[in-house]
Amino acid sequence: MNRLERTIGSVLRSGTVASSSLFAVGLVMALTGYRDALAGVLLEAGLVILLATPATRVVVSVIEYVRERDWTFVVLTLTVLLALGGSIVAAYL
């Protein structure tokens, strides 16, 4: 297994574990009515981490391709990031 694949695996794993844990705790708190405000914050954080995980995977790919000096794939992965940036802009238009 190459290094990029390993790094991507751990990025995706951490993001999944973090967002799912926040969702689970936040959901139980929201349903039991225990500290509603905090529950809302936890759920929101879970969602943001969920959305950020694939984007982070692309960022680590860019870094790895720069290290390998594989410029074709640096351009390709940067283009993917650019499109994601476009979505963020479109989200608040």
């Binding site: 297994m1 990029l4 694949e5 390993r6 991507i8 695996g9 751990s10 995706l12 794993r13 993001g15 999944t16 967002s19 799912s20 969702f23 689970a24 936040g26 959901l27 929201a30 349903l31 809302g40 759920l43 929101e44 879970g46 969602l47 969920l50 959305l51 995980t53 694939p54 984007a55 995977r57 692309v58 790919s61 794939f73 390709l76 992965t77 283009t79 993917v80 499109a83 994601l84 476009g86 979505s87 963020i88 479109a90 989200a91 608040y92």
Partner: protein, 277 residues
């Protein structure tokens, strides 16, 4: 907007579990089952259902790909190339969602799914592999250990432009309908671009995370993606995808293809019915 009570949370969780299990077994994501359920059975607005579904697509993609990283099924390089097309497609889909008539899109989707279902059945016994383990997979091809035949299989990627077009369309449909888009990419990669089904499904499963993020971010910004409703769906899908990957490992490729074809036909009919209302 639906207030969340424990019963509704449990229903969404259960629907997510089933959708996740089926989705992973077929490499489709699960949104294809979740969106119709949320809109038709629970009466959610389509935008809200699509947004919730996209968040489960991201969760499935991340969880499944984290587990698969390293077993060579995911074609990372091809994935990165095709993601350029899927994310461009999902960005455009998210923006144009407001301007295109939904019924027209549903019909188009129905036609595409039906066509792919037939293509899948027509090629059910065909295997896109080169038996010689020393064969050159080319720049974008790959090789992996296949349990069924007990050997290393190699494949080349053919018709890259077609794969790019399919990926763009998949990204577009992903944003508009709240699905992963694997339903379009996987059959095309398998039937016309020379990829074995498992490699195509694994590579697509990685791509749909980034693709769905492009769409989900737009819904989130517009307030259509509510964490309180997304949480039970995501947790359900996580549970389902965990059991679904075991299902996939123990089912033969032929059955997976047949199941996918039947499923595509059902989705096509549902889409036509919905567009006629």
């Amino acid at each position: 907007m639906n207030p969340l009570n424990p019963v509704l949370a449990l229903i969404i969780f259960g629907a997510g579990t089933i959708a996740g299990a089926l989705g992973v077994a077929l490499g489709l994501g699960g949104g294809i089952f979740l969106v119709p359920f949320l809109t038709l059975a629970l009466g959610f607005p389509l935008k809200s259902a699509a947004a919730i579904s996209l968040s489960t697509v991201i969760a499935t993609s991340s969880a499944v790909s984290a587990r698969r990283a390293g077993n060579q099924l995911i074609n990372l390089r091809l994935g990165m190339v095709l993601e350029v097309a899927t994310t461009a497609g999902s960005l455009l889909g998210g923006i144009t969602a407001q301007y295109v008539a939904e019924t027209a899109l549903q019909r188009l989707f129905g036609v595409v799914s039906m066509a792919v279902a037939f293509a899948m059945i027509g090629r059910i016994n065909r295997r896109n592999v080169i038996a010689d383990p020393a064969a050159d997979p080319g720049r974008l091809g790959g090789r992996f250990y296949e349990e069924e035949s007990g050997g290393v299989v190699t494949y080349r990627v053919r018709r890259l432009p077609l794969a790019l077009v399919a990926s763009f369309v998949a990204g577009n449909v992903s944003s508009l309908l709240g699905i992963g888009g694997g339903i379009i990419k996987v059959p095309v990669l398998n039937a016309w671009c020379g990829m074995p089904l498992r490699a195509a499904a694994a590579t697509s499963a990685l791509m749909i995370g980034v693709t769905a993020t492009g769409g989900a971010v737009i819904y989130y910004g517009h307030g259509d993606l509510r964490p309180l409703l997304a949480a039970p769906a995501v947790l359900g899908v996580q549970l389902g995808s965990w059991s679904g990957s075991r299902l996939a490992e123990n089912t033969s490729v032929k059955w997976l293809k047949l199941l996918m074809a039947v499923l595509l036909a059902v989705v096509a009919v549902l889409m036509f019915l919905r567009s006629a209302r």
